[in-house]
Symmetry: C2
Subunit: 349 residues, 2 copies
């Protein structure tokens, strides 16, 4: 009864390859005695590849990646200010293109304050919530343009596109998740200003809420939500929000729960039509790349999300517990691979 | 050589009237011995007035308000969920209409951690920055719409409109401010996703930077900016950003600097074509309205911004110093008017 999982690995740029190496080590360790085998294909994509070949993500790349059951991604993005990357926009052309083409409509971002993690808050309380960020529409659709560019008469517009179809499916996912957690769901938007999109989000949340009478639902404007993330993060269980607000809230959430070096994420296609993609929330941090300074924890926790997504709950839990055990007793400075090894040692202990 | 300043006072809803009452007391106290007289006109606007008359902000209101030299506003917005307010949107129809019609293109929001203020951060460091938020365009223009509303085929769009004219004038203001402060300016946007508007902001900042060789300029994506606001707020001096990002960052900034009860703001029309408007960043908080529970400090600090705007620097400084002295030794709980009185006592000491 052995199972083969085809896994695309995209180490990417900057610290991406370093942290992904640790994620791969962990994946191997946690499945060593199991009947699951990972058949990995590595894809050299990102700024470095673009500079070499001029390609960001070709149709062939996409087809080859799509043929897998899941994807692990490190981080993409070249050195800021690199003149040859000026018009490239690796983020849009690679990362967002993957999310959109593979219909990753749930961008799942758990935030947890682990015992011993050095958080910035004086009184953090217990923090354990998940942001369900819409991943395929909103202000991220790339529906913008400019006229008279570079002149004093330039006008640059960006249109946020929101559909009932797109909102309902992610809202349903969030409610289902809330049912399995602490039965609390907070919609975050800016309904008093973005009345059309916000109104639709609110209406759909109200509708789906009817089917979940035991889930307590509330609403916060995005500005107020940032306040509560800092002053009272324990009030949150599941947050559901749009693509841009989710982007902002999850970096902030990372900051209040011990740093973005611990924040993992899943770009999920719940229908299973396309492979889901797991990545740390942090970026490629070119300034510390290649120096073994990056914290691989977020990448390793992304492996836990991957395993959970594949139905390997026990393995997923083991990874999370190993990370928890490591965080609880971290001290001194370690290299990227020392941290990976330490977490794996916990797993094997 | 006496000077008369015509002041429109809009107490608004919820805690608005209570905090504005303290602001007015302070204004009287600080100008008691000076040759400036404030000729005040009160405008009963907001949710309460809408429920009574059906009017939010009429042309007559606008004309009467515009005839003043400056405006003080408390807060507007009725009880959430009040069914009769459902389609009213007091925020758009009153607050944003004032900002847009009176061309308040600089939304000025200083953030300072006062000695003794109870902040949520374990190690806040010295916090003293100003967010210069664009106030008249971006995602706030109300350029949105929906089709098939309420059906599974609904599509709701919102267009962010950005002009070189609008961006350049606020960027120039921010650079001038940075010159008078610590010569540091941070542009916050999301240029890797909102490439058209973000590209224009970046280009204009680069251009204006040429005229300010001694101002150090950097750039942060809005998501990264939220991290630094929590982990290293002392790195900021002047932040310049768009309407929506500014909304989000300033609530967060309020949270990290001792609470939104201390955050003041000015909606400035630097050209002097229209009266500028000063208001606390906080909302109307209907849940604690009429109970003398609200902190009037933000409203009183808005008076300091008003005085500074009117060129009454000395008076402005006296108000700020009185607030500082009060915050340094706050304890126990006080009513709204006790706090106002305590700050005024510091002023007179
Ligand atoms: C790199 C960027 C396009 C991306 C986003 O905005 O989604 C990142 O910030 C993230 O949160 O994964
Ligand atoms: C009430 C709302 C429309 C307003 C805004 O979004 O600008 C408020 O949040 C603020 O920051 O002044």
């Amino acid at each position: 009864m052995s199972r083969v999982v085809k896994l695309a690995v995209i180490p990417g740029d900057g610290i991406g390859p370093e942290v992904v190496a640790e994620a791969e080590k962990m994946l191997e360790a946690v499945t060593a005695d199991s009947d699951v085998t990972f058949e990995k294909t590595h894809f050299a994509l990102g700024a470095a590849r673009y500079l070499e070949t001029g390609d960001t993500l070709t149709d062939d790349d996409l087809a080859a990646i799509s043929a897998n059951d899941a994807i692990i991604l490190g981080a993409v993005g070249g050195t800021p200010g690199e003149p040859r990357l000026k018009d490239a926009n690796i983020e849009r052309g690679l990362l967002l293109k993957l999310r959109f083409t593979l219909d990753h409509y749930v961008n799942l971002r758990p935030s947890k304050l682990y015992a011993g993690a050095p958080g910035p808050l004086a009184e953090p309380g217990e923090i354990d919530f998940v942001v369900v960020r819409e991943g395929t529409e909103g202000p991220y659709v790339g529906n913008g343009g400019a006229i008279r560019t570079g002149t004093p008469h330039e006008i640059a517009n960006e249109t946020s596109v929101n559909t009932a179809f797109g909102v309902e499916r992610v809202v349903r996912y969030a409610f289902d998740l809330a049912e399995r957690r602490r039965q609390k769901l907070t919609l975050v938007h800016k309904t008093n200003v973005l009345v059309h999109s916000g109104g639709m989000w609110q209406r759909i949340v109200n509708e789906v809420a009817q089917e979940h009478p035991d889930v307590a639902v509330d609403y916060l404007h995005v500005d107020a939500a940032t306040i509560f993330l800092v002053t009272n993060p324990s009030r949150f269980d599941v947050i559901v929000t749009d693509n841009l607000f989710g982007d902002i809230l999850t970096d902030l959430a990372g900051a209040v729960t011990g740093g973005i070096g611990l924040a993992a994420s899943g770009n999920i296609n719940p229908d299973g039509t396309f492979p889901s993609m797991f990545e740390p929330v942090h970026g490629s941090a070119p300034d510390i790349a290649g120096q073994q300074k990056a914290d691989p924890t977020a990448a390793i926790l992304s492996v836990a999300l991957l395993l959970d997504h594949l139905g390997l709950r026990e393995e997923s839990l083991r990874v999370t517990r190993a990370v928890e055990a490591d965080i609880a007793e971290r001290d001194g400075s370690r290299t990227t691979s020392q941290t990976g090894d330490a977490i794996i040692a916990r797993l094997q202990a």
